[in-house]
């Protein structure tokens, strides 16, 4: 077999392998999609050139057309990739613009298929197949140079805007692509004089592949972390695959079988590596969450403890006893209130770890009908001091009709609703907090609506998460545990057919809606 062609097939396989790897890692990410498409097009181009060398004279022309079209798609896909890489948020490209981007490729397909001044002469020389190119080849050259140049320019301009890991990633893509492109340029013009070296075209793409693969290995480009095992598997499979065709002989079935068996083994190998990586990432995330939680928890616990300790120490050394009776009482009251707060924090932390271990369920033996009207009235009373202190209105607004009781456990239900009202008051600077009790035929609704800071759009998906706090909440009130809403959701979720949701607009306020299914006299669980 021709060595030049063999290497071209290798390059083709490498590109295809890398393309598969990138697309499979995250097929929803546009950067991955377009880079993968670029590599696939390179793979086709390489394959086409290899086949051009190997094929019979009659088929050569077909393969030439094939690799010119592929090459045109390479640059188009790369342009899309560059655009996607620099703008992470999806910019809607109009249909017209898409059409414009694809225009040169479409033109080239038409030119090639109609044989219009592109491949002028096709002959067989002693050194191989020869093509004399016509004027429309210049159109192709312009297309390639402009597209690659423009893409590299976009990436280069973006270079100064990025920092950290993305800069390192970009550096590799940029360097790899630039070197590969510059090395390819002579090959765009050389065929005008002699077609002898046309096969060299895809070789420089190896530089790009190596650069990108290195970026992936070292810097997790495109979020790929297991490339070493994949490259080894890919390499082995490529060798085995080519091995099937290289030698003629009776053993082709045997070689095919070996290839297939290795593919299966390789697949499972890569899959198991993936699994391990995912597990490790999960553990790392848990560890990080735990250490963040310990930081928050230790600060939260220390705040009341420091007041209790400080006050007690002053009693101990006798300075408080010198103060008038009312002032002494104030200190005792402080100790008491901070102890209550402390026990609340401890309860929250313990509840959170309780909810953590398994799916939480309400204690069966303690379930009882809860009259939400009375229940919410009492909670409102408990919070009235807090609201008054902040100058906020706190209202309980209920429908006139008698709302049927729900089956619940008062201890947990209190915790669930108190957490939400507590947040509403905490994160509202001016205005009011309204608690609504309402019903329809099937459900009872408890709504807690505030005129507070609201939840930023980006924090909405994780707001019920454990240890999660909205970014504006962290700015305002520094010692929240990030457990409140997590606990509320777990408790509400343990009620049969109940759920909790929210509407919120940053800067305007938040409304939490808890929906309980009417129990119809049956047990709520």
């Amino acid at each position: 077999m021709d060595t030049k062609a063999l290497i071209l097939f290798f390059i083709s396989l490498f590109n295809l392998g890398l393309a598969t790897l990138i697309i499979f890692r995250n097929w929803k990410e546009r950067v991955n999609i377009f880079y993968s498409l670029t590599l696939t097009a390179i793979s086709f181009w390489s394959f086409g050139l290899g086949m051009f060398i190997l094929s019979s004279f009659e088929n050569g022309r077909f393969w030439a057309i094939f690799y010119y079209i592929s090459a045109s798609f390479i640059v188009t896909c790369f342009l899309y990739f560059a655009r996607a890489f620099v703008s992470k948020n999806i910019v809607k490209t109009s249909f017209l613009k898409h059409l414009l981007f694809h225009c040169p490729s479409i033109a080239i397909i038409i030119i090639l298929l109609t044989n219009f001044h592109f491949i002028k002469e096709y002959t067989l020389e002693p050194w191989g197949k020869n093509i004399k190119l016509g004027y429309f080849y210049f159109f192709y050259v312009t297309h390639v140079v402009v597209y690659i140049g423009y893409s590299i320019m976009i990436l280069f301009k973006h270079f100064s805007f990025v920092s950290g890991i993305k800069k390192t990633q970009l550096k590799f893509i940029f360097l790899g692509t630039s070197i590969a492109s510059f090395a390819t340029i002579p090959n765009l013009f050389l065929p005008l004089f002699t077609y002898k070296f046309v096969w060299f075209g895809p070789y420089p793409t190896l530089i790009m592949i190596i650069a990108v693969a290195y970026a992936i290995t070292k810097h997790h480009l495109m979020d790929i972390k297991t490339i070493t095992s994949e490259i080894l598997t890919g390499l082995l499979l490529s060798i085995l695959f080519i091995n099937i065709f290289v030698y003629n002989g009776n053993l082709i079935w045997f070689r095919l079988a070996i290839f297939l068996a290795s593919s299966v083994v390789g697949y499972f190998l890569i899959k198991s590596v993936f699994k391990e990586v995912r597990q490790r990432e999960h553990i790392e995330k848990l560890l990080k969450m735990r250490s963040e939680f310990l930081d928050i928890a230790s600060h939260q616990l220390k705040t009341p403890v420091s007041v209790i300790m400080g006050t007690a120490s002053m009693f101990k050394e006798g300075s408080i006893q010198k103060l008038p009776k009312e002032q002494q009482d104030k200190f005792i009251d402080n100790i008491y209130r901070k102890s209550v707060k402390l026990s609340g924090i401890i309860r929250d932390i313990l509840s959170a770890s309780e909810f953590d271990t398994e799916k939480f369920s309400l204690p069966e033996s303690r379930l009882e009908p809860v009259d939400l009207d009375k229940f919410l009235e009492k909670i409102k009373e408990d919070f009235s001091d807090d609201a008054k202190e902040k100058g906020l209105g706190l209202n309980f607004i209920k429908k006139k009709s008698v709302i049927p009781p729900i089956i619940s456990d008062e201890f947990y239900l209190t915790q669930a609703i108190v957490n939400i009202i507590d947040n509403a008051i905490k994160y509202t600077k001016i205005g009011k907090v309204d608690i609504f009790l309402d019903e329809d035929e099937k459900n009872v609704f408890v709504k807690i609506k505030d005129t507070g800071v609201g939840i930023p759009e980006k924090d909405k998906p994780k707001i019920f998460g454990k240890f999660e706090r909205a970014s504006n909440a962290v700015d305002m009130y520094t010692d929240g545990s990030g457990l409140g809403l997590f606990i509320s959701k777990e408790i509400i979720g343990a009620h049969n057919g109940a759920n909790i949701s929210f509407n919120s607009k940053e800067g305007e306020g938040t409304e939490f809606v808890i929906t309980f299914q009417k129990s119809n006299g049956k047990d709520g669980k």
């Binding site: 930081d295 230790s298 600060h299 220390k302 705040t303 403890v305 420091s306 007041v307 300790m309 400080g310 006050t311 120490s313 002053m314 050394e317 300075s319 408080i320 010198k322 103060l323 002032q327 104030k330 200190f331 402080n334 209130r337 901070k338 700015d475 305002m476 009130y477 520094t478 010692d479």
Partner: protein, 126 residues
């Protein structure tokens, strides 16, 4: 009489430190937020500032930065008195220009007074 400014967002702590400093013949004023604290530092020229780190709206770190930026306040010594983790924050606030980092659960109120008195004595402030 040396004048101390306490910047602290917890009422109970303010009461505690107010009392212990007053008993020990200090003039102590307090501020419930970083913003008010900066204002009082500018207008009332305290001899020393006791500063909490973890506060709403403006953190203690920001308060130190602002104090040190302003020529009127940059020479007022700042001592950080907080519940934040020493290992994580001490270096940072000392770099910003704080004199000491004291943890509220480590240094009891009366010891805070004693140490403040020592510091003022050593630096010949009033």
């Amino acid at each position: 009489m040396a004048k101390i400014l306490l910047i602290e967002d917890d009422d109970d702590q303010i009461l505690l430190y107010n009392t212990v400093f007053k008993i020990n013949d200090f003039d102590i004023i307090s501020a419930i937020s970083g913003k008010i604290g900066l204002e009082r530092a500018r207008n009332e020229h305290p001899d020393l500032i006791l500063l909490d780190l973890n506060m709403e709206e403006m953190s203690g770190e920001e308060v130190i930065k602002k104090l040190k930026e302003n020529p009127e306040t940059k020479n007022i010594p700042v001592i950080v008195l907080t519940n934040m983790d020493k290992k994580k924050f001490q270096e940072q606030v000392l770099e910003l220009g704080a004199e000491y980092f004291w943890e509220k659960t480590e240094v009891m109120p009366l010891d805070v007074v004693k140490k403040v008195a020592e510091f003022l004595e050593k630096n010949k402030i009033k």
